[in-house]
């Protein structure tokens, strides 16, 4: 229950909301004194600057402190006001608890302007800046490498993971999320989200436009955990996913795409795909060679680009120009199907002519499906599914769409059920980094196929490691529009091994309880945990990103271990150590190595 203590003399307020303990000093402005395990903070909650003049602390007047308790939630509000020069400001700070481990912090402000002419107002939040400076503060996606915070988690969607601060033992943790779903700085919260991820957060001031009515300036969700930062991620994940309608992913008809671990990019114009003497596509050869990678689950046929635009032929007409026109595709599709391989063709949104529309392309697609029996449509350059195409799935329930870019917005994530995780910047010395893709963990039901088309040599090695670390499939693309960049025999073997593991342990890799970047016992090791909600068995992907071999304890395990086995990566000596009823995973791991370990627990 809430404990509310407020005295006029002390002008201080201490209260608990769920798992959140706060102490505020209201003598001058509003000072945060304590926040759970973070004590002696003594920072103002906010500072207001009007036309470059700071409103002095003694100008603030606390009007009211109130609490409101309902069966569903508890609200504590602090209303304040201040006169400054000829303007009058009113504000309200509220803490709203609906769940014991998620508390909303809301900051609202209004202004009555002299002569009704608004002024430039900048706001700063010293208490967050102070948290940001704390040695145990992690920006979204960050970990500690022993010396500094480094980014090891990435995401490319319009959900913004929380920053996290933990106690020295890493057990009690608080997460701070500035909820937003927009792609650019459309509101104050996104500004905060972006700013807190940057190096210069202490300088960040948000510009606000104030009217006579209260404006929401900050909507910060505070997540509380006594089980480390992993729990903060789980809370954020659970809270975020609640907004989504993910029925389409669990539709029984059409989710073969979830097992599309390896997609082959079949570039038509090259020796890999085309027999120049026989004037035919080498589909059987491609399927045969695909076995070196563990077998393709789908093939994406590609012949429109870079040929489109030579004349007025559109993307559909180019299929007619293939040998025996549509029949070529039909024949290839039949061969693929006889090997249990799905077949995609691409859609080019940039090739919609003035007399065409998405609806007309949907009609072409429908006709094409009927004539050729293709299984999917690849959305070139896109990260969204047009409504016109969505209708196709109602007629052909098993038909799938896969986009080149990972969908970013809610509607697109709900409707577009697979995509590439494409990384790499064309020929700008791009280095494939091995890190955690948060999208993969937030929406494990959305299959991603990793690709970095221009990567060669050690970058291709890193790409495979990155796929293994994230437990995701790949795109096997070797002929990049006429530039032949094949995988080596060793790389093919590694991909084959990965595919077999993804297939064998599918229910864990795509389980709903997977967490990225769990706490490890080595500062140079990062680890993702894959599991379903039963939790009896987990897979740990472990990466030594340091430059030295690591030998010793790597993970503290959550439960008693029954069985353990390394399932991917160069064989290393792994052991389980039991000490005082706690189980540890030990390994002897070379620098830059990724391994996957499967552990069965006693429940």
């Amino acid at each position: 229950m809430m404990q509310n203590k407020f005295t006029d003399k002390k002008k201080s307020i201490d209260f608990s909301l769920g798992n959140l303990d706060l102490s505020l000093d209201l003598n001058k402005n509003v000072f945060l004194k304590k926040l759970n395990f973070i004590k002696n903070i003594n920072n103002e909650l906010f500072i207001i600057r009007v036309e470059n003049k700071l409103i002095p602390k003694n100008k603030y007047k606390i009007e009211k402190v109130s609490k409101n308790t309902d069966v569903n939630f508890t609200v504590i509000s602090i209303d304040f006001s201040q006169n400054f020069e000829n303007d009058f400001f009113k504000g309200r700070i509220s803490f709203v608890q609906k769940k014991k481990n998620i508390i909303d912090f809301i900051f609202q402000l209004s202004a009555r302007w002299y002569k009704d002419i608004p002024k430039k107002v900048l706001l700063k939040f010293p208490f967050i800046i102070n948290l940001h400076k704390n040695k145990n503060f992690l920006k979204p996606g960050d970990i500690f490498d022993g010396k500094k915070r480094i980014k090891k988690g990435v995401w490319n969607l319009h959900e913004y993971p929380p920053s996290i601060i933990s106690d020295n033992l890493g057990i009690e943790s608080l997460g701070f999320e500035f909820y937003d779903q927009f792609p650019w700085q459309a509101n104050y919260n996104l500004g905060m989200s972006e700013a807190i991820s940057s190096e210069n957060f202490e300088k960040f001031e948000t510009e606000v436009q104030l009217t006579q009515e209260f404006t929401d300036i900050i909507l910060m969700k505070i997540y509380t955990s006594f089980k480390g930062r992993e729990k903060i991620f789980s809370l954020w994940k659970e809270n975020t996913r609640k907004r989504y309608d993910l029925r389409k992913y669990h539709d029984s008809n059409n989710r073969w795409i979830k097992k599309n671990y390896l997609q082959h990019f079949m570039f038509a114009y090259g020796e890999e795909a085309f027999d120049y003497k026989k004037i035919q596509f080498k589909i059987n050869q491609i399927i045969k060679e695909g076995k070196q990678f563990g077998g393709y689950d789908s093939i994406l046929f590609w012949h429109q680009y870079p040929r489109l635009g030579l004349d007025e032929s559109n993307q559909w007409q180019l299929y007619k120009y293939l040998p025996k026109n549509y029949k070529t595709i039909k024949k290839i599709v039949d061969i693929c199907h006889s090997h249990n391989i799905k077949f995609f063709i691409p859609f080019k949104p940039w090739d919609i002519r003035s007399n065409e529309s998405l609806d007309s392309h949907a009609k072409f697609l429908e006709k094409f499906i009927k004539e050729t029996n293709i299984d999917g449509f690849f959305l070139d350059t896109m990260s969204s599914l047009p409504e016109s195409f969505l209708k196709i799935q109602k007629k052909f329930p098993s038909f799938e769409f896969c986009s080149e870019g990972t969908p970013r917005e809610q509607r697109q994530i709900e409707t577009l059920t697979s995509s590439w995780d494409q990384i790499g910047d064309i020929r700008r010395n791009f280095k494939v980094d091995i890190n955690s893709n948060f999208f993969r963990f937030l929406f494990p039901e959305h299959p991603l196929n990793l690709v970095s088309r221009w990567s060669v040599g050690s970058d291709k090695d890193a790409l495979i490691k990155r796929a293994a670390f994230n437990g995701m499939g790949m795109v096997i693309w070797q002929d990049i529009f006429g530039c032949w960049l094949p995988f080596s025999i060793e790389q093919k073997k590694k991909i084959k091994s990965l595919k077999n593991i993804l297939k064998k342990y599918h229910k864990y890799f795509y389980g709903d309880n997977s967490i990225p970047l769990i706490k490890t016992l080595s500062k140079k090791i990062i680890c993702n945990e894959f599991s379903n909600s039963f939790g009896k068995q987990k897979i740990y992907s472990i990466y030594n990103f340091g430059s030295n071999k690591i030998n010793g304890r790597i993970l503290k395990l959550p439960l008693a271990v029954i069985e353990f086995k390394q399932i991917y990566g160069k064989k290393v000596n792994i052991q389980i150590e039991k000490k005082q009823n706690t189980f540890y995973l030990l390994a002897n791991l070379d620098a830059n190595d990724v391994i996957l370990v499967n552990i069965k627990f006693q429940i």
């Binding site: 870079p306 489109l308 030579l310 004349d311 180019l318 529009f481």
Partner: protein, 230 residues
Amino acid sequence: MKSFINNKIFIESNEYTYRVEHLTLEGTCSTDHGPRNVKIKNLLVDKYPVTNQQYSFFLKKTGYQPRDSQRFLEHKLNKKKINLPVVFVSQNDAIAYAKWVGGRLPTDEEWQYIAAGPKYLDWPWGNKFNPSLCNHDSNKLESVNAHRKGESWCGCADMAGNCWEWTAGIHNDGNHQFALLRGGSYFYAPDHWHVGGGARKNNYHWKLQILNEGMNRAATLGFRCVYDAK
């Protein structure tokens, strides 16, 4: 419609520095773009691209039928089109014609010299683009003699715009076969992902990746012939 004679123009042997400016959006064009010294032997060159009338005559005289006729002369030859450049011809179709008339397709290097000449002009008519001197960004082919002021230094017409022109040879980088096209065409596709269209500069070639003949023919793709001369 009145037909006209496709004159031949003499090009005197010379050397020049070949240099092509060709950036692909993605992928590569695996040919030596220079700069390198190139020797051009004495040549006769068609003043105009081969026309529908000329190609019809060839068909009539030889009974030529391509092994794979997909899209072959898809535009359908008729009397109204006699002076338009023949299109929907593959490189093989072009070579067959050239052989019959005792000529061949120009090499990529020869084509550039015929267009740019010893003064290395950017466009057939000079160094500044002038869309009124060629068929650029329109919706149809024009007669090969429609832009007399757009002729090159040696008098060759229609070297920029109207239709792309095949050059000789299939290039092979070990994994891909491709041919080089020259001059650009009337068609100017709207997006940067499309083939860069319209009239193109003298020192530009486009890499056409070879596939089956149906894909090797296009509404914008024709040719002209050269003839070895003493």
